[in-house]
Symmetry: C2
Subunit: 346 residues, 2 copies
Amino acid sequence: ALIALLPGDGIGPEVITQARRVLDALDLDLTYEEAPVGGVAYHSVGHPLPEATLDVARRADALLFGAVGDPTCDSLERALRPEQAILGLRKHLSLFSNLRPATLFEGLEDASALKPDVARQIDLVIVRELNGDVYFGEKGRRTTAAGHREGYDIMSYDETEVRRIARVGFETARKRRGQLCSVDKANVLETSQLWRDVVIEVAADYPDVTLTHMYVDNAAMQLVRNPGQFDVIVTGNLFGDILSDQASMCAGSIGMLPSASLDDAGKGLYEPIHGSAPDIAGQGKANPCAAILSAAMMLRHSLGNGAAADRIEAAVAQAIRNGARTADLGGTMSTSAMGDAVLAVL
Amino acid sequence: ALIALLPGDGIGPEVITQARRVLDALDLDLTYEEAPVGGVAYHSVGHPLPEATLDVARRADALLFGAVGDPTCDSLERALRPEQAILGLRKHLSLFSNLRPATLFEGLEDASALKPDVARQIDLVIVRELNGDVYFGEKGRRTTAAGHREGYDIMSYDETEVRRIARVGFETARKRRGQLCSVDKANVLETSQLWRDVVIEVAADYPDVTLTHMYVDNAAMQLVRNPGQFDVIVTGNLFGDILSDQASMCAGSIGMLPSASLDDAGKGLYEPIHGSAPDIAGQGKANPCAAILSAAMMLRHSLGNGAAADRIEAAVAQAIRNGARTADLGGTMSTSAMGDAVLAVL
Ligand SMILES: CC(C)[C@H](C(=O)O)[C@@H](O)C(=O)O
Ligand SMILES: CC(C)[C@H](C(=O)O)[C@@H](O)C(=O)O
């Protein structure tokens, strides 16, 4: 299988290097093509998502992505900023379904700001829609009747978009504890009301899954109060962005959590949920576990090799139990030493 | 001064009764006019915000509000649902600035899901814009070119709206620790980019306040990881809705936190941040502290009586230190017993 390797900005290259080492150690039949994305791509060829990179991405069976984000690009026009690389890949490749598991690794109870008995309950997946919502609606600047500057963005979902992500939510819940919580703001937003109506329609095909609905403000509260109540959460692009980062921090370990962004056919982009962390880039301090676990998700979801995925995940969990700790986990291990620790278990 | 008393739905009347008892005990020169809002108003006169209620609200110097929300109204058309009462009051009275303080009361360390040393650091105010954003933009249902149902909502802010709430943020920070964090999603939304541009312009008038910017997903993470880093957060209507509920739960005590919604002249609506809690309504289980503390905020912000506000706040804090606990705080006290406990200290 062909893997597009997209290390990107900041700590992206460092963590992807370790993920690649772990994949290499498993002797899988993989070939790699590396391509620039984000600020790195802008600085070298003038665009955050160059045609050549998009071409590799289209040809590949799966994409392993580091991170994008570069403060030196902050004042560029929107279309040239690093974030457009990830938004563009999601859209061009129809990667509409974002799976973000959040669990607390055994031994990391101290890393969470939550009380250990609360944090230990966390075992959830957020299913976030990635191709619609206010992210991709018409947006711009205009002048009001009174002559003032105004910024606007149109939020919307149509029933086909809601239906396909709802199905992913129900399917995910069916393979887990059978509990799906749909998060919206239907008491205020028409987009949310349509969302809720369609999710309820889809529920008819999944009598074995228990569906509940929660307003997003309440969900943000409940994720702190009692995250153990959630099995699978399905939500739109914007609410999913906020809640998934929050959930990962409840699990105490932004450096430990992977994500998958999938199309209809199982092709996917795999990335750590952390960002490019420019403040520690190039210093060998970053935790590579989220990237390594993203590689495991790739093997499971796009390459049909669940066994290899299980092996990697078990190795990371064991390394953590053995006491391996990068700085984000309160330790002193370097990025490559953490990679070594995982490889040693493998 | 004339107070509009708007108890509303669910536990609203129970908690407002206790707030009223506390106000009465202080022998202030207040007169009250009570009026129905929310589901109660819909059921009695067919509208969640009747003209007569709006009239009382307009004439009053301040509004003391319980809660709205009634599951029996869930299938009504949007304009008739209980939530429209609070949205309508905010808009009709130009209550654009919502202040939501979050602090951990001494003795309630156990009530927070956060570790005590993390929770004890929380001392922040969220300044949320209330009259704009995707809440009040054009919204509706339409049919796509392909013939599918679509829901849409327009998000927008113009510079005058951002400027006035930014000023409230800076003024609030100036009276506290001088740190203002503006939360947006400027890497994706044009509304947020305009927001950020205008906040930066306003900052020129407040050289004594340190301004930072944070993306909303990161803010949701940081509020769990290290809420002590925040002094004042200023943000839009939608992000403020989510983050303020999250922050209140980090402080462990959704039943303890009040809020103020102010216009330009200091007239305000005061309400607990908790909702109508239909599941426990009428059972005398609700915690009245948030309503009592809302009355204190009313005395301070709209009635120029900071001394009386201080007395009420000190009495609530002392009652909690004395061990007074309703069910939400792990105790068994009834709503009126908690009111008694506060009155006993006063
Ligand atoms: C970088 C940014 C555009 C992106 C998003 O908002 O989707 C990120 O926060 C994420 O969650 O992957
Ligand atoms: C009831 C609802 C419309 C309201 C809001 O979203 O503003 C509530 O959640 C709040 O925060 O006061």
